[in-house]
């Protein structure tokens, strides 16, 4: 009896990790086909490219953890990338018009808090669905950013921004170091503090959390603010990567964020959105796009590959779950 049960345990565990295993196999295949894929330089490239998506995905996963992971009625914040471009726009405009870095950062921070607060109020006070609220806020905030920047590209060569792009600490890229620290801090906050536990309780079962005395609405509000702050943090990396603020980066960032976060959910054995899943999703998607690119696959195919990834990984996760139950 006992060995049987253990064998069943193993099977469930492997089934749970099946999407991740398949993804890694695919990545290995791409790695053997693409020249210089498994090198340190390429690893740096993969991580550098994934930085912005990692940061916004952490914000999104916090919101989903608190709101529940039903995409339509649960928690979701699609407006994070819009907050990012607005903050980037504000910083770029102020710095190029002779304003100081402190002023730029303070105003951008204030703008992000305003966006987060509006999201929070609309969702918890007015009772709008998060999907709808944050989709509409996405459009409104991008619109405001287009007014701020007049829809123009703004070049920026402020030392802070260039350092973020090409500076190093102890031989390691500065940008990667900072995002690693932010990620660890977020992990501590979401998984190792009382607040993080409450958050997960609220997302797991709203009613149960409310009955045991948690102030669910307040927790949910706080995650929208946290998400907006992650959007603010991301803006520096968007500025660093683009050497300034350019219109139109928000659409792609939003799609990548959703892709990484929900792909991350498929990677987790219980198929729930987790912060680590989101980070892993962001890095792996970046790895596979760079892999295909260095295999010489035309950039027009990127969307096809990403779309197929969603379908394959998510569908496999669902099938594995059904198989595991049977």
């Amino acid at each position: 009896m006992a060995p049987d049960a253990r064998a069943g345990d193993w099977k469930t565990r492997i089934m749970g990790l099946l999407p991740l295993i398949i993804f890694l196999l695919l990545l290995t295949y791409v790695g053997t086909q693409a020249p210089n894929f498994f090198t340190l330089v390429n690893l740096g490239l993969v991580l550098t490219q994934s930085l912005t998506v990692v940061l916004v995905s952490i914000g999104l996963s916090a919101v989903v953890m608190a709101g529940g992971d039903d995409v339509v009625s649960g928690g979701i914040d699609l407006s994070i990338p819009a907050t990012t471009v607005l903050c980037a726009g504000i910083i770029a405009v102020i710095l190029t018009n002779g304003g100081g870095l402190v002023l730029a950062v303070v105003l951008a921070l204030a703008a992000s808090i305003v966006v987060g607060t509006i999201n929070a109020v609309l969702v918890t006070r007015a009772g709008l669905s998060p999907l709808l609220t944050t989709l509409a806020m996405f459009v409104a905030v991008v619109g405001v950013n287009n007014v701020v920047t007049a829809s123009k590209r703004i070049d920026l060569d402020h030392p802070v921004i260039t350092d973020l792009r090409s500076g190093t600490v102890l031989g390691l890229p500065l940008g990667i170091m900072i995002v690693a620290i932010v990620t660890l801090a977020a992990w501590h906050l979401l998984h190792r503090t009382r607040w993080g536990m409450h958050l997960q309780a609220a997302g797991g079962s709203r009613d149960a959390a409310a009955i045991s005395g948690l102030r669910v609405d307040r927790l949910v509000r706080q995650t929208y603010i946290l998400a907006a702050l992650m959007g603010f943090t991301t803006s520096f990396f968007i500025l660093a990567r683009g050497s300034g603020s350019s219109p139109g980066v928000e659409d792609n960032l939003m799609l990548e964020m959703v892709l990484a976060t929900f792909l991350g959910a498929a990677f987790s054995p219980r198929r729930i959105v987790t912060m680590w899943g989101a980070v892993l999703g962001a890095v792996l998607v970046s790895a596979i796009s760079i892999g295909f690119k260095s295999m010489g696959v035309d950039v027009f195919w990127t969307g096809l590959i990403k779309g197929t990834l969603i379908v394959v990984v998510v569908a496999l996760a669902a099938l594995a779950q059904r198989g595991g139950r049977g």
Partner: protein, 325 residues
């Protein structure tokens, strides 16, 4: 004393019952005062005509949202409809009816793909249609070498008439939208099939227990929605005499917003055809009114985004208050 309390109470009630109407009317008045052109018959017809494609998209979205899902790939349906029709005329010399049919079938392919993912593989509609969106966008890039438009200046006049012609003095695109409104109204609000769609949207498990063929309905809904979006694509292609890749996405958010404004107007908060029509007309009016105010393009964009957020918030709050009363 008592009387004034009573009248305040009634005033509040009127606001609660008709909050959205009040918003609609105030914007209408602001636009009318700021530019007298707004009120002219021609311009009001412009509002309706300019909203035709959005109306068609929003009807399709209403159907999907009524089942409790969402379709982020509706724009791909529009793009495919336009692409298939333009290619059918340009490369195969088809007449307008053949091209329109091919276009609608092309759009339906997107719906069949979605249905396969959602019903066959049990993916959530959000993720499935997001995947379809990625794939469909990429397919368009591949076939147009990066997204260049495929123009067809010499398209048959009969096809062009889908957008620019007149039927009984009304622009054809308005007539197409009106016919679709009628079809959707009867199908979704006045038929047993429509009642089943709403039932599964409200309580999926109860609907299954009640013996409603949930899977069959889902397949039909996603195929119908994509085919309807393709009709929007036909009108858009006829209007500009070309197929512009990746243009459908721009209607997506407005379509979703119109559906949810419409749902908030419903007494039980359900997505419904007439509510969607009101939502689309509101969005069309705001776009037109802001245009006439001669504002800077960027400012106009930002304002319409903000107005959308406010309108959504107000309409939901209104419904909450009303059901609390």
């Amino acid at each position: 004393m008592q009387r004034s309390a009573l009248s305040i109470h009634t005033l509040r009630n009127i606001l609660i019952q008709n909050g959205f109407l009040v918003v609609f009317a105030s914007f209408f008045m602001v636009f009318a005062v700021s530019n007298p052109v707004f009120l002219q018959g021609d311009n009001l017809l412009n509002v309706v005509e300019g909203s035709s494609v959005l109306m068609i998209m929003a009807l399709a979205m209403t159907l999907v949202v009524a089942t409790g899902g969402i379709d982020l790939s509706l724009g791909i349906g529009l793009d495919f409809g336009a692409a298939f029709a333009v290619v059918a005329m340009k490369s195969y010399g088809m007449d307008w009816a053949g091209a329109a049919l091919v276009g609608v079938l092309g759009g339906a392919v997107v719906g069949i793909f979605n249905a396969g993912l959602i019903v066959g593989l049990r993916m959530s509609p959000f993720l499935a249609t997001l995947g379809t969106f990625f794939i469909g966008s990429s397919v368009q890039r591949i076939f147009t070498n990066g997204g260049g438009p495929n123009s067809h200046r010499q398209m048959p006049q009969s096809f062009r008439d889908l957008a620019t012609g007149d039927i009984l003095g009304l622009p054809t695109e308005v007539v197409i939208a009106a016919v679709l409104i009628a079809v959707y109204y009867i199908g979704l609000e006045r038929s047993i099939w429509g009642r089943r769609v709403h039932a599964m949207g409200m309580q999926r498990s109860a609907a299954i227990v009640a013996g409603i063929p949930v899977d069959r309905i889902l397949v039909l809904v996603f195929v119908l929605a994509a085919a309807t979006a393709a009709v929007g694509g036909l009108v858009a292609a006829a209007n500009i005499r070309m197929f512009t890749p990746l243009s459908g996405f721009s209607y997506l958010l407005d379509a979703i917003a119109a559906v949810f404004i419409g749902a908030a107007l419903h007494r039980r908060g359900r997505p419904n055809v007439l509510g969607t029509v009101a939502g689309v007309l509101f969005i069309g009016m705001v776009t037109n009114g802001l245009n006439l105010m001669g504002l800077d393009f960027n400012l106009k964009d930002a304002l319409s985004g903000i107005i959308l957020v406010v309108a959504l918030a107000l309409s939901v709050v209104q419904r909450k208050l009303r059901s609390a009363n």
